[in-house]
């Protein structure tokens, strides 16, 4: 037998981070990104105006916060985002429950689903524009199309992972399939579905901005970026817009993450173990 010299590990017994500790570490991470991009901008690989250093980009991004037209653009993008994500959730969760619980439907629709999934929605913008115009409807339609998949898949896989013991329990008490689905499968898959929603939230934001950029029409953060694109020295504005997109994503995710932690306390407390 070998002697065991491995020092006692920390793991579960380690003291959990405080809120401030988490914030401080998060700030370190973001600061590192900032520093890296500042260096890249100053490295002189290309002219500064082609890739401005982070300080200049962030200054511009802060300036934009005082620009009413820009804020109007932001509001437009966020409207499309919220509508798209909301609809995607409303479509994907019930659909996921159906496909995840009735294998026959899943098999029958798989060919269609797998065929449709890889079609790049944004490449269809010209065609979508033809059917839906170039306004909010088109943006929302494309967002829904792209944001549905992560929620749908996480719902289906989440259902497959549900411990059969729980389902059996309600079965013996005489509950029907639907009720078991709603009372056991859905709650136990919910944390993973929520991860799908978090994925979809970012996808929806990318689609909102991306659709605007590629369609080149209308209002929104993407239009701001696209306009900046078509002039010399636009890189600073493009990247300032990008910083806004990232910051929005960060805020949205933090909000969703907070909701997730509150809603699924049972999940996290159990996972996190004990003090």
């Amino acid at each position: 037998m070998t002697t065991q010299t491995v020092s006692a590990r920390s793991g579960r017994a380690a003291r959990p981070l405080t809120r401030t500790g988490r914030w401080a570490r998060g700030a370190v991470g973001v600061a590192a990104l900032f520093a890296a991009s500042e260096l890249l901008g100053r490295a002189g690989i290309v002219d500064r105006s082609y890739l401005p250093p982070a300080s200049s980009v962030v200054t511009r991004a802060v300036e934009l916060a005082g620009d009413t037209l820009f804020l109007q653009y932001l509001a437009d993008t966020l409207t499309a985002w919220a509508a798209g994500l909301g609809l995607a959730i409303a479509v994907a969760v019930p659909l996921g429950l159906l496909l995840g619980s009735v294998p026959a439907v899943n098999a029958a629709t798989r060919a269609i689903v797998e065929f449709l999934r890889p079609i790049p929605s944004v490449a269809l913008i010209p065609l979508a524009g033809l059917l839906l115009g170039s306004g909010l409807e088109m943006k929302v339609a494309l967002i829904v199309y792209a944001a549905t998949w992560p929620i749908l898949f996480n719902t289906m896989y989440g259902l497959a992972e549900v411990d059969p013991a729980g389902k059996d329990t309600l079965r013996v008490f005489g509950f029907g399939r639907l009720e078991i689905l709603l009372r056991v499968s859905l709650p136990s898959a919910a944390p993973f579905i929520a991860t799908g929603v978090r994925l979809a939230a970012a996808v929806a934001l990318i689609l909102a901005v991306g659709t605007e950029i590629i369609s080149g029409f209308g209002d929104g953060l993407g239009i701001f970026i696209a306009q900046a694109y078509s002039v010399p020295d636009g890189a600073r504005d493009v990247l300032a817009g990008t910083v806004w997109a990232g910051a929005l994503g960060l805020v949205i995710d933090a909000a969703l993450g907070g909701t997730q932690r509150r809603m699924f306390r049972w999940h996290h407390v159990r996972q996190g173990g004990t003090t």
Binding site: I45, G129, I214
Partner: protein, 302 residues
């Protein structure tokens, strides 16, 4: 589409007309015309919708969300016409090539000294198989350079400077205002005058609508055409007028606007001139057959 049909003051079918406009120098006359209230004089209200590339506005035009595209790239729209996605009607011409408005640049220390040196090199163009390679190939051929030996690389105009500086491409084919900008920043050298013979004066873009729109709204179309021709004259007559509007819609700074090379603003709609681009395209295989320009060019019956 914008608004009220029916009889206006001059019996126009449509008093408000929606124009998708690109932020390019090509479409300057529209804005000169707006500034000088030339459209109002014809009883027209013009609503401008900014758009980044003319192809993006094509579905909107087909669907009727916009009535006219300003600065529409002829190569793109003539192809669309041939493929049947759009029945093209040209209301007015926008811009024609002038010497040095579109040039091939290299870095100051580049070994490429002449057009001949481009053979076997990578040249950046905004969209491959479009107006740029079309005109450049014609010029190169005229200078005894084999265009098939040039490797065209797709790089959007804004990134061309960086790509050239990093050595990712050997030369860039670039338009104003990026042309002046790159020359200023990198000290880039011109190796080919992209507006030189045999393509000097070739029309590159115009104000287009669908034949359907023109047929349904002949008076409106005619009024727009009259106003545009006056606007083209104004733009062609005094570059100061153009310089004034560029900072607004094209986001070009005044000091840049004052030095860039302007395109030609044709002051008539001319099938002979349009025939030159059609010929170029047919020779290059971008069009299978020659379209009937008489049906494409809108002729006012008034």
């Amino acid at each position: 589409g914008g608004g009220d049909s029916g009889s206006g003051g001059d019996g126009l079918e449509k008093e408000t007309i929606t124009v998708a406009a690109l932020p390019l120098v090509d479409g300057a006359a529209l804005h000169v015309g707006l500034k000088q209230k030339l459209f109002e004089a014809e009883g027209l209200k013009v609503q401008v919708k900014p758009v980044q590339q003319s192809i993006q506005a094509l579905p909107a035009l087909a669907k009727g969300d916009v009535d006219v595209i300003a600065g529409a790239n002829y190569v793109t729209f003539l192809q669309a016409h041939e493929k049947g996605t759009l029945k093209l009607s040209i209301l007015a011409e926008g811009a024609a090539l002038t010497p040095n408005m579109m040039n091939v640049l290299v870095t100051p220390d580049s070994p490429i000294k002449s057009a001949k040196d481009l053979e076997g090199r990578k040249v950046a163009v905004n969209i491959p198989n479009n107006i740029q390679s079309l005109t450049l190939n014609a010029i190169l051929k005229a200078n005894n350079v084999d265009p098939t030996r040039i490797q065209y690389i797709q790089v959007p105009f804004p990134q061309m400077g960086a790509a050239l500086e990093k050595g990712q491409v050997d030369a860039i084919h670039v338009v104003e205002p990026f042309l002046s900008d790159t020359q200023k920043k990198l000290g880039a050298r011109v190796v080919v005058n992209g507006g030189g013979e045999p393509v000097t004066g070739v029309p590159i873009s115009g104000y287009v609508t669908t034949q359907d729109f023109a047929a349904k709204n002949p008076k409106t179309a005619a009024a727009f055409q009259r106003a545009m021709l006056k606007a083209q004259q104004a733009a062609a007559g005094d570059r100061k007028r153009v310089e004034e509007v560029l900072p607004g819609y094209a986001h070009i700074e005044p000091q840049v606007a004052s030095v860039i090379t302007m395109p030609d603003f044709p002051t008539s709609v001319n099938t002979t001139r349009l025939q030159r681009i059609v010929d170029l395209m047919t020779t290059a295989g971008l069009l299978k057959s020659k379209p009937d320009l008489n049906t494409i060019v809108f002729q006012s019956k008034a």
